[in-house]
Amino acid sequence: MTPINYYLGLGALLFAIGTVGVLIRRNLIVVFMSIELMLNAVNLTFIALGRAMGSADGQVIVFFVMIVAGVEAAVGLGIILAAFRNRLTVNADEFNLLRW
């Protein structure tokens, strides 16, 4: 049997990779994919911890995370579409109206 810690470590690693993706990529769609990656890392952690505690609540939370991820992807991609229509780009650097 694989120790739970290994799963948690894998979750941390995937989360870190997702963070890096959010940070370094300029394509908003890839940024979004990286966010999904981070969500999945957390999902895995939930499942692992739930398994460690012998409780199914972690799975329920993952279930909700999935729903919210779907919602977030739909709305986010809708926004990207609308933004693309205005700027003809999905380069994150081009969207910086919210500044000083």
């Binding site: 990779i17 940070l23 370094i24 999945n40 999902n43 398994r51 999935m66 380069n91």
Partner: protein, 179 residues
């Protein structure tokens, strides 16, 4: 899940996750993301969460990622225009992520968690449904509302509103398009 299988899926997950963030073409990133998601699903099933693991595959791979694919098609994005430069933020990101992994690993090496023995119905659909329609019923119902709001919101955001100029144009009698 035996350690060997875990190692296989974990390695695959990490490699494909790196693929997500490092590949130039969004479609390739997407493919890598699918692999990661499936690996995570497999790992979940390995943690006795059979139903959730399969749901992960159905929901993420079957629906969410397809959305990404559609948007990529709609925007006709082949490659990122500019991914060079910005070394500073890349460096900071790498250092930060490494520090995060380091910190979390430091945590994990100091904690000892053992897997509990669980019932045979652990992770089954019946157990999950019992919780969702029991303790989490209100959250579940709220989620359904959230989905509805999201659908309406997406339509409102992404819809191509007819411009007022076009809307005010008198209806044409002929099929010939007006310039």
């Amino acid at each position: 899940m035996p350690l060997g299988i875990f190692a296989f899926f974990a390695t695959l997950a990490v490699i494909s996750a790196l693929g997500v963030i490092l590949q130039r073409s969004p479609v390739h990133s997407l493919l890598a993301l699918i692999v990661t998601l499936l690996c995570v699903a497999a790992l979940m099933i390995g943690l006795d969460a059979l139903a959730v693991g399969l749901l992960q595959a159905i929901v993420y791979v079957g629906a969410i990622v397809v959305l990404f694919l559609f948007v990529i098609w709609l925007l006709n994005l082949e490659r990122d225009p500019e991914e060079s430069g910005r070394l500073g933020i890349k460096l900071l990101a790498a250092v930060g992520a490494a520090a995060l992994v380091g910190e979390l690993t430091a945590f994990l090496t100091r904690t000892h968690m053992s897997q509990q023995t669980v019932n045979s119905d652990y992770g089954s659909m019946a157990q999950l449904a019992g919780l969702i329609f029991g303790n989490y019923l209100i959250a579940f119902e709220v989620t359904s509302l959230l989905l509805l709001v999201a659908v309406v919101g997406v339509v409102a955001v992404a819809r191509r509103w007819p411009s007022p100029r076009l809307a005010n144009r008198p209806p044409t009698l002929s099929a010939k398009p007006q310039t």
